[in-house]
Assembly symmetry: C2
Amino acid sequence: MIVKKYKKDSDVSYTLGMTLTIELLKTKPEVLLKVYIHPELEETIAVKELLSSCKQRKIPIETNAKVFHILSEKENCFVIGEFKKYASTLSNKENHIVLVHPSNAGNLGTILRSATGFEVQNIALISPAVDIFDPKTIRASMGAIFHMNFCYFDDFESYQNQYKHYHLYPFMLQAQLTLKEITFKKPFSLIFGNEATGLPISFLEKGTSVFIPHSHHIDSLNLPIAVSIALYEASNKK
Amino acid sequence: MIVKKYKKDSDVSYTLGMTLTIELLKTKPEVLLKVYIHPELEETIAVKELLSSCKQRKIPIETNAKVFHILSEKENCFVIGEFKKYASTLSNKENHIVLVHPSNAGNLGTILRSATGFEVQNIALISPAVDIFDPKTIRASMGAIFHMNFCYFDDFESYQNQYKHYHLYPFMLQAQLTLKEITFKKPFSLIFGNEATGLPISFLEKGTSVFIPHSHHIDSLNLPIAVSIALYEASNKK
């Protein structure tokens, strides 16, 4: 099989790096199809463990320098895992994050890392939205993606209809209450808009809108920062 | 003069994009040396205002497509400001952020954006540390860099000797107290380590060490996320 640059419509994606590949092997070994090894990879104890664990599970290992040129832009990548993309569903009891039209792969990854850190491990993505299996997302998540449940929805209404019992908290600059003033009722949905445009004004009518106060010298907080501060306040992990 | 790719030892740096260039012109017009315009730039009202403001201040404007190929990797960049790097000093009354050996330009920019948002506008950088004038830092800061005071120090002791009256709060995973348990005494220094390695263990002895609790499924929070959550809790801007 010829390895090509990752595309959204591909059936497989990649963990670029040893730590990510080990995390995948620990959490979802059943989807790991193949492990590529760079010829210059040093045989450390961790590497030996990874390889022996792959052999036990009959996951093929291939030494191949070319694959690294095709898939990885970083120079310090010596292990790549190829895995089958998998479906996931959201819990209907646990708290959710809802991202409406997120556009940046790195941002989504950083959000997954914080979400796992603060134990809000269900994320809804309202289309159009960035691809959660983009290797850049996986890399920025530092492997947290494999601890998350996720689901794409065509529009916010489809999400809302399925999770009618959730308490909605849209985060928007026009909101009435600050984050410190809110007592989050569970199960909750923390809702955030696109990086550049935020949430449409219509979200002011949905549930309890919230804002994180900041000085007038900035237009807004960076999206992963806003999501993480919200998670920090709303989660039990304080 | 021939424009070259940005280097750390250069006397000038660049604002890549119209919004950044306008922010520079508003906050530090005295350092703006030249404005480059892409031939395909549309003449919107904002563009006209920028150009007329440059003319008033006798800042040269040059239409030049080549400069954009050299300096900008992004396709949506049509205005570049060239500015003289400037020195800055820290307040000895206002609160500080201290970054020990930060390595990533984008992360530093995101931290500057949050710092400006939460009004902790003095940042100390302990060398070796990423270049605050790297165009990637400026871009990620969304212009917040121009609202910040900053200073590089050869080592943490040099910083500490100069700001003996500051209350030190090193953020580290081995700390005794959680962020929620701390009442920050002012003026404070919020201290953070390198992205990959954190702070050396010796910082446990300096001031009051703090940690932000997170699940065991992640090794640590992303650096700009940790700094921003700390700023959110410690600052008056809640």
